[in-house]
């Protein structure tokens, strides 16, 4: 292997295990970006993930860091426990929309409101992936799911909840941004945002929240390419991609 130069190499923070994610799913890409950042920052030994209940529950199979598997929705509470008792570690909660906004809404809001010095990565795919495609709090109006067979109807199911908008009403959070990863350009930008959210924690700035609009092509019943297009054409209309708050900018 002497003087061959690699143009690209898989980071050692990712394991060699092939993933269970459906082809084209955004989870895999976000895992990779996080792993690369952890390698670049040299924090593999001190990073602790809190794996959610959801498609990413096997995160520890792919990212080679210490990991706590939390109960459904409770990741921010468990992350609080880890961070308060280990302030020098980097604690990353990684959650889906059902986990973060439905069953875990109380934990989400209160961890943010305490300004916990943690990084929360929010994968918003507008559906419950793991359980086979039920309505999520972020399901779009009219979107068909297993439990909204005629499409989400606001008079029975209400409207999609914007996590960034909601958290932005609180005083304590330091950083809130919504991104997407459906093209190389947007993915490269998102990686910068993720770096920032982790750097904030390392600099003891407090709560950082990154929402990533993701596809669930299997449960949306689309090809990965169509699903990525659907994000631009539909999801982003309801969930605008932008920075909501950046404590550094003050």
């Amino acid at each position: 292997m002497s003087d061959k130069k690699y143009l690209y190499k898989k980071t050692a923070v990712l394991t060699d295990k092939s993933s269970h994610y459906c082809p084209g799913c955004s989870h895999g890409l976000v895992h990779k970006m996080l792993a690369e950042i952890i390698e670049e920052f040299g924090i593999q030994k001190k990073t602790i993930f809190v794996a959610p209940v959801g498609c990413a529950v096997l995160l520890y199979d792919y990212i080679d860091c210490d990991t706590l598997e939390a109960a459904h929705g409770r990741a921010p509470a468990s992350a609080t426990g880890i961070k308060r008792s280990n302030p020098d570690n980097v604690v990353i909660a990684y959650q889906g929309d059902g986990d973060l906004l439905a069953i875990g809404m109380a934990e989400t809001i209160h961890a943010a409101n305490r300004g916990e010095n943690i990084t929360v990565i929010f994968i918003n795919n507008a559906i419950y992936g793991m359980t086979g495609g039920q309505m999520a709090p972020t399901t779009l109006v009219g979107q068909k799911t297993l439990t909204t067979p005629l499409g989400r109807n606001p008079s029975n199911e209400g409207y999609p909840i914007g996590a960034c908008e909601l958290l932005n009403t609180l005083t304590a959070p330091y950083f809130i941004e919504r991104c997407k990863v459906n093209s190389s350009k947007t993915a490269i930008y998102t990686k910068k945002v993720l770096k920032k959210a982790i750097t904030n924690q390392m600099n003891n700035k407090g709560y950082s929240f990154v929402e990533i609009l993701s596809n669930c092509n299997t449960n949306w019943g689309m090809t990965p390419l169509d699903a990525n297009k659907w994000i631009d054409e539909n999801v982003e209309k309801i969930f605008p991609v932008k920075n909501f708050r950046d404590g550094d900018a003050k």
Partner: protein, 178 residues
Amino acid sequence: MLNKIVLAGFGGQGIIVAGKLLAISAMNEKKETTHYPSYGAEMRGGTCSCSVVVGDNLIASPIIKNPDIALIFNKPSKEKYEPLMRHGGIMILNKSLIEDTNLRGDIKKYLIKASEIAEQLGSVKSTNMVMLGAFVKATSIIKLDAIINSLTIAFPNAKEKAIELNIRALEAGYNNLE
């Protein structure tokens, strides 16, 4: 009489509905039957299977450890089920997607170019019906008529044309077994 039948392939090949149709047909023939799908996270990664048990008395367990009969839609499923087959069991292989059709010596082997036949009939989606037709010919556990008569029960919302295509696919499977 007790037959433990497995249908296996990847998602989208109509494995679960083919199994359901088989179970409905058996029930309409006044047999006892259970249908049990692989479910949840098991389904991720693209594999899909279901177990259908057909017998004369209440079925004890819907879960099959050693199948008597297996309808195998793709290569990974062949690799999974070959070692599990009961001694002297029957395997029906979708030759279109399985190159190496060599099997354990004691297994009775039937081949059918199911995906190709389905494609020729107009839609690769009826691969499952071709496989079922082949199964009927190979085992005679259920009559072809019984399956045809159950189509409208299994697919209550299907248009007449779709039902017709399914019948042709069942018949093609029945007539082209190797």
